[in-house]
């Protein structure tokens, strides 16, 4: 009996080591091994925090105190909270206006930079500057530019005799919204412009030559050659631009902290205020979690909306 059992065990070990050898040398498995570090990295640094954030949003965790599961209560509270809805409105306004203008101006700038002009390389480098300056530094610069007493804009306009008193940039809700959006646009344009410029340079010159032979005007060339060829890049750039803008935190936090009276609070800044400053981690996490559906929608829209191949190739949609 004992020997039988030993034999069975030996067999098992044998088959196990066989399988192990197979796993080690099998080409399909080899791919798996190579992917493992990356997968571990993603799990640890992306999936885990995201999962933890979502978990926190259904608990009443506070700073320094474990919380219990409370279902969707945080979201129910937020649903009745006018400040939360104000921040949702602000976030949408901020993202939409800033992204549209960034795209328009960025594309315009890219086309300008794509044409032949003297000092091309230097000008391209200069365009990148706003993107290189740390966000917080540029935010503080803007904070001075928008200061109610010492604004250089107000000062200039008064000296020129155009206005009589300082502009209340950050103290009046709509002015404040416009001001932070302008700062975001200033900061975001280089990213859009330079990336689109890279896209423009991949468009074969022969297409333009063919269009010229067909007698296309400059607008027609843009509409039927440049734009369709650029669409995949536009999709990528705008997806990123929308994501960056939607989740913006630093500019707002350094300039207004969400004031005056929450008029510039974005979901990200409100989440920080409630979770870290107010100590209410659960509710703060719920605000962050509430951003996810919007972000997903933005991503899906740009991928499915802008990347339909037929349309890309200049044909009409089905």
């Amino acid at each position: 009996m004992a020997t039988d059992a030993e034999r069975v065990r030996a067999q098992r070990t044998e088959s196990f080591s066989d399988r192990w050898t197979q796993l080690k040398y099998d080409h399909n498995w080899l791919g798996f091994w190579f992917m493992l570090p990356a997968a571990a990295f993603l799990l640890l640094f992306l999936t885990y925090p995201l999962g933890l954030g979502i978990w926190l949003s259904v608990t009443d965790t506070r700073i320094g105190r474990e919380g219990g599961f409370i279902g969707l209560e945080n979201f129910e509270w937020l649903n009745e909270d006018p400040v939360f809805w104000l921040s949702v409105f602000n976030t949408f306004l901020y993202t939409t206006v800033a992204s549209v203008i960034k795209f328009g101006l960025g594309l315009y700038l890219a086309i300008l930079l794509n044409s032949h002009m003297p000092w091309k390389a230097i000008i391209r480098a200069v365009v990148l500057l706003p993107f290189i300056v740390p966000t917080v530094l540029s935010a503080i610069a803007f904070w001075w530019i928008y200061d109610t007493q010492f604004s250089i804009i107000s000062w200039t306009l008064i000296e020129m005799g155009w206005i009589d008193e300082n502009i209340n940039f950050l103290g009046e809700p709509n002015n404040a919204r416009a001001s932070v959006i302008a700062a975001n646009i200033w900061r975001g344009i280089p990213f859009v412009a330079i990336t689109l410029l890279a896209g423009l340079q991949t468009i074969p010159q022969s297409l333009y030559e063919a269009a010229t032979i067909d007698g296309a005007s400059r607008w027609q060339m843009f509409r039927h050659v440049t734009y369709p060829m650029l669409t995949p890049i536009i999709a990528v750039v705008m997806t990123f631009s929308v994501l960056f803008t939607f989740t913006d935190f630093q500019l707002i936090y350094a300039m207004t902290r969400g004031g005056p009276a929450n008029a510039t609070h974005l979901m990200a800044t409100l989440s920080y205020q409630r979770a870290i400053m107010g100590g209410n981690l659960g509710e703060g996490a719920a605000i962050s979690t509430a951003m996810i559906p919007f972000l997903l929608a933005a991503i899906l829209f740009s991928w499915f909306g802008l990347q339909r191949r037929k349309w890309q190739q200049g044909e009409s949609d089905d």
């Binding site: 506070r62 700073i63 320094g64 105190r65 509270w77 009745e80 909270d81 006018p82 400040v83 917080v136 503080i140 928008y146 200061d147 109610t148 007493q149 010492f150 008193e165 300082n166 209340n168 940039f169 950050l170 103290g171 009046e172 809700p173 404040a176 936090y253 350094a254 207004t256 902290r257 969400g258 004031g259 005056p260 009276a261 929450n262 008029a263 205020q273 409630r274 870290i276 400053m277 107010g278 100590g279 209410n280 509710e283």
Partner: protein, 444 residues
Amino acid sequence: MTDHITRDVSRRSVLKGSTALAAGVAIGGAGSLVDQTRAWAADSPFEPEKGAKLRMLRWNRFVETEDIQFDKSMVAFTEATGIQVRLDKEFLDDIQPKAAVAANVGAGPDIIWGPMAIPHLIPDKLLDVTDVANYLGGKYGGWYESPAAYGIRDGKWMALPLCVSGNYINYRISAVQKAGFEKFPTTTADLMKLTKALKANGSPAGMALGRATGDGNAWCHWVVWAHGGKLVDKDGNVTINSPETAASLEYVKELYENWIPGTASWNDSNNNKAFLSGDVSYTNNGISIYAAAVRQKMDIAADIDHAFYPIGPVGKPTELQLPFMIEAFKYSKYPNACKLLMAFLMEGPQYNAWLEQSVGYFTQTLKDYEKNKVWTEDPKRAVFKEACTRTLDMGYAGSLGYAAAGALADFVIVDMVSQAATGQTSVKEAMETAQKRAERYYRV
């Protein structure tokens, strides 16, 4: 934004660089300070662990002389006790998030000196320092009631109020006199008259209505309380939506219309700049505006004075003066060394020298230190001496705790005042929103 300075406070590092002269005085003149400290430590009831090392996080200075004196004390402490202290200094608004993270992960600095809300946000994570508090209270005439409340939970001390940062009216003597007032008004009714007269004279006033953690909270709470409004009653029921609050908001609306434009965007530093540039004739602030003017020998210094907040219809002072709390974490490996350092910082020789060097920016929390000459050598500092006796605490009229800390950090009162003042919402709506948000915190 994060202004991050990390310094190991050791004799060598302090002697290096631009602070060499100051530190030289510290060590040389304070050969005695070190000796004193050594003798004191030997007698102290708190015996530090062998080989103890501490990490301390404090907020970055607003007044330079205070900071230098603080560093000197820390050097003397290390010299005398052999306990190395790594002192990190960070921007005030970053201290609370750091404390929160340290509490949650159970690692980080051993001691934090920072804003008032921390102890009641993380009470379970803090070292019980009742023995230190009793020792100091017994030796120095007892603690003032209000700052002490920020450190006490269920009869135990979890933190010590190191000092209070007094926040009072800063005004231009000439402008107030020109507006027909011999002295700064002592009632809210007169304050309104003054404000209108100042505007008429082309020298308007203004107080911060933006996200100003210090100045905004201080005056917004004062004005609501002065009219009898309160966030909660003594049982913790939210009562902000009340006729008294409405009266205070109507009052603020009228003030706001007569102030300089733009106060809704002001944070803690805007009013300093506007006051020093001569754009506003009164604001509320710590003594830092005056201290800066004196230090830079500006002409304006002679024309600046300070006053108590005027008294409103409730007939008694309703100030909000916030303490800076020093607390140690339970996770610290050297709890006794923490206690020794906390006691050391508040002992006579160090505390008196430090209070003097803080030129009125800080007010003592132990009654004996009232006698410090900082309050008599310049009469313009005198009002700040009373910061601990005229204040209510941030949880008024309820108890201090998690909810009060959260509501303050979430700007519930400031937002309400700001919304109503700027006309962004009606007075009624502003109160309803505040009521709802406060209920969220006080539900716990």
